[in-house]
């Protein structure tokens, strides 16, 4: 009947439409409209100049009422001021102390250097003065600022655990390598007072700190300034997030880091809980050990059996690769450089599974092609019939996990048949199906805030058969929502599969 717009236009022109205006309605509405226009203008003037008329009757009632209102306002204001003065503004010292009182702090650190991004996961036990990190390449670091003052570094490439002396945090060398260093580096700025700021849709206290740096080089360029923005929960006073910039001598940003914190009840007891093989070779490089009579490295204590916390590689089954390369039309300025090799195994607490498998999916608009069930059906192949196409422009899908879960990672395959990058990708977790309250954003590359969810600093990426693994950043919730706004090839939005790795709470 109609193969194209032209055909349809002809069809419409041939229709008999009852769309002739009624002159009577036109005249009636004209009068109503001009009256409304005049009234709107009158109200505007009245708003500016109107005074509250004195009541014609009941003046005796009116005056005490006003006095009561005034007294109430005065009492409330006094209490408010007392509370404000009594508690005083939050300082960075208070934030640091509150943060260090937590049993465990878990931080996901994204380190951006040009088109490259490296992600690390850190755990801190401040009481024991120990910290641990799993690096982007599968390496593991342990910092012990206690009596031993040692650093352990496991390299999966070398398959060895290197033990070295650990300098005092903040004494140089380590810079902002870990949060203990960060606190030490900025200890002199403990009196910095926070200001109100918005973070992830919440009002937080933000602390702006700068420190001149010397002796630190990144790719041969000297770092002159460390600039940190620390954001804390005004209620708990614990750190929620931090942004750190390493600025060069010309003021340019050499590296920037984004830290996202959460506070789990448990953490690793040793590096062996983070995937280091127990039988791995140990190389002790500490100064006092070199040249000892035995010339043998002292073995580190056998790792103690740990409780419930232990990380193990998560098995993520991958579909067949469909292409290799970069997008033909890479218009995105913040495109992440593709990884040269396969993605390292993702480590998560033992018992972590894909909690999204087979779970219901909803969307803002009905899909144009396919059904939403395909997004969680476990089929990740980029074949015809395996994907869902949503309308052009901003679109979202929501996965209902049907119970609260602790989320370690979200892996998303938009469409990996062709090299393309999806635009304005945002991933959020919440307990609210409407995503109005308690929303945690775990990924956001909407740099210009096109979606109105806040500008994000994550990089755009090219779709591959490996999917995009997004760190859960300690998020907990029942619903996972993914936004996108077209891709570099067209304005459409696609999903092949979304996996959510986590554990029911």
């Amino acid at each position: 009947m109609f193969e194209n717009e032209h055909d349809f236009q002809r069809l419409v022109k041939g229709l008999k439409l009852d769309d002739q205006p009624n002159p009577a309605h036109r005249e009636r509405l004209r009068g109503q409209m001009l009256q409304a226009f005049a009234q709107a203008g009158g109200q505007r003037v009245g708003c500016v100049s109107r005074t509250i008329p004195a009541p014609a009757q009941g003046g005796a009632w009116y005056a005490p009422y006003r006095l009561a209102v005034a007294a109430t306002v005065l009492v409330v204001a006094t209490v408010g001021i007392w509370a404000l003065v009594g508690r005083g503004p939050v300082t960075l010292r208070q934030v640091r102390l509150a943060t260090q009182k937590a049993a465990w702090l878990y931080a996901v650190v994204s380190r951006y250097q040009g088109p490259e991004v490296r992600t690390e996961r850190h755990w801190y036990d401040f009481a024991a003065q120990k910290g641990y990190a799993v690096l982007d390449d599968g390496g593991v670091v342990g910092w012990d600022y206690g009596g031993d003052a040692k650093k352990l570094l496991y390299s999966p490439r070398v398959k060895a655990l290197m033990i070295s002396d650990l300098s005092n945090p903040g004494a140089g060398g380590d810079s902002t390598e870990n949060l203990m260093c960060v606190f030490a580096v900025f200890a002199a700025r403990d009196d910095v007072k926070g200001a109100a700021a918005q973070y992830d849709g919440k009002t937080v206290r933000s602390f702006e700190i700068e420190k001149a740096e010397s002796g630190l080089n990144i790719d041969g360029k000297a770092v002159r300034l460390l600039k940190a923005t620390m954001m804390a929960d005004p209620r708990t006073r614990r750190l929620l997030a931090a942004g750190i910039e390493y600025q060069g001598s010309d003021g340019g940003v050499l590296v920037r880091e984004g830290w996202t914190m959460s506070y789990p009840p448990s953490g690793p007891a040793s590096v062996y809980d983070l995937g280091v093989p127990t039988m791995v070779a140990r190389i002790d490089g500490r100064r006092q050990r070199i040249g000892t009579p035995s010339a043998e490295p002292m073995p580190i204590p056998t790792p103690a059996p740990t409780g419930s916390f232990r990380l193990a590689p998560v098995e993520i089954r991958l579909p067949r690769p469909m292409f290799a390369g970069t997008p033909e039309d890479a218009r995105l300025p913040n495109l992440e450089r593709p990884r040269s090799g396969p993605r390292p195994p993702f480590l998560a607490p033992v018992g972590t599974t894909n909690v999204a498998l087979g779970k219901p999916v909803s969307s803002g608009e009905e899909p144009v092609i396919g059904s939403l069930e395909a997004i969680t059906d476990g089929d990740k192949e980029a074949a015809e019939g395996s994907f869902v196409e949503l309308s052009p422009g901003p679109q979202f899908v929501t996965i209902d996990l049907q119970e609260r879960c602790e989320i370690d990672a979200v892996v998303v395959w938009h469409y990996h048949r062709w090299p393309r990058a999806y635009v304005d990708v945002v991933v959020q977790v919440s307990d609210d199906p409407a995503f109005q309250t308690a929303v945690k954003t775990i990924f956001n590359n909407d740099t210009d805030n096109s979606l109105g969810l806040g500008a994000g600093g994550d990089l755009s990426y090219v779709e591959t058969y490996e999917g995009k693994l997004i760190e859960g950043k300690g998020a907990q919730g029942r619903y996972v929502r993914l936004f996108s706004n077209g891709n570099t090839r067209d304005d459409l939005n696609h999903y092949i599969e979304v996996e959510v790795y986590g554990r029911p709470l």
Binding site: N4, D18, R30, Q32, R44, P392
Partner: protein
């Protein structure tokens, strides 16, 4: 040369009218005369029912009257996009909230016989009620774009300004909307396209 010059001059006059209409009732009255028919027809195409279209048209112009002083645009094109946006939103809101939508559909479909033959001849009997009933199966935003394109003869740029979307996006939506409409009509008429 005159023909080339005429449009900008006329356009300027309309632009001045829009600016004056923010403060002068007479200028607003002229704008009303310019737009009443267009907005009514748009509402009639979106809502099918004449009385409903008049109600929504009234609502649109009363909204314009109340908010004209705060209107930030300065050109006739700005005003056109603005008033069509109001009309589209109010028509969509009406469709969404009213329980009469299903009644409208039933009325529209009531024009047809219950048992239509599944044949190519059915397409030749495609009338406005049938087409409207099929359009109602689309998403309201897609209905808006379809109406603006084929009943108001707007180009992609102008539709994009009304629905706050890029012209390329409008083109893609329209393409898919037509495809979907054809599927609905095939289902209704039982024929092949």
């Amino acid at each position: 040369m005159v023909a080339i010059m005429a449009k900008p001059v006329e356009q300027t006059a309309y632009d001045e009218l829009v600016v004056l209409a923010k403060t002068q009732a007479g200028a607003l009255g002229k704008l009303y005369e310019l737009y009443y028919d267009r907005i009514f027809r748009f509402c009639a195409h979106r809502l099918f029912n004449r009385t409903t279209a008049e109600d929504v048209t009234s609502s649109v112009f009363l909204t314009v009257a109340r908010t004209m002083r705060d209107f930030k645009g300065r050109t006739e094109q700005d005003f056109r996009s603005w008033i069509y946006t109001i009309a589209a939103n109010q028509a969509n809101a009406h469709i969404r909230k009213t329980v009469r939508r299903k009644r409208l559909l039933r009325n529209a479909l009531g024009h047809r016989e219950a048992e239509e033959e599944a044949s190519a001849a059915a397409w030749s009997r495609l009338d406005w009620p049938t087409l409207y009933a099929a359009i109602q199966e689309l998403k309201p935003e897609h209905q808006t774009i379809l109406t603006l394109r084929f009943f108001e003869n707007m180009d992609y740029d102008e539709i994009g300004r009304v629905v706050d979307a890029r012209p390329a996006t409008v083109r893609v939506i329209l393409h898919r909307t037509l495809r979907r409409l054809q599927e609905v009509l095939q289902g209704d008429l039982g024929g092949e396209a």
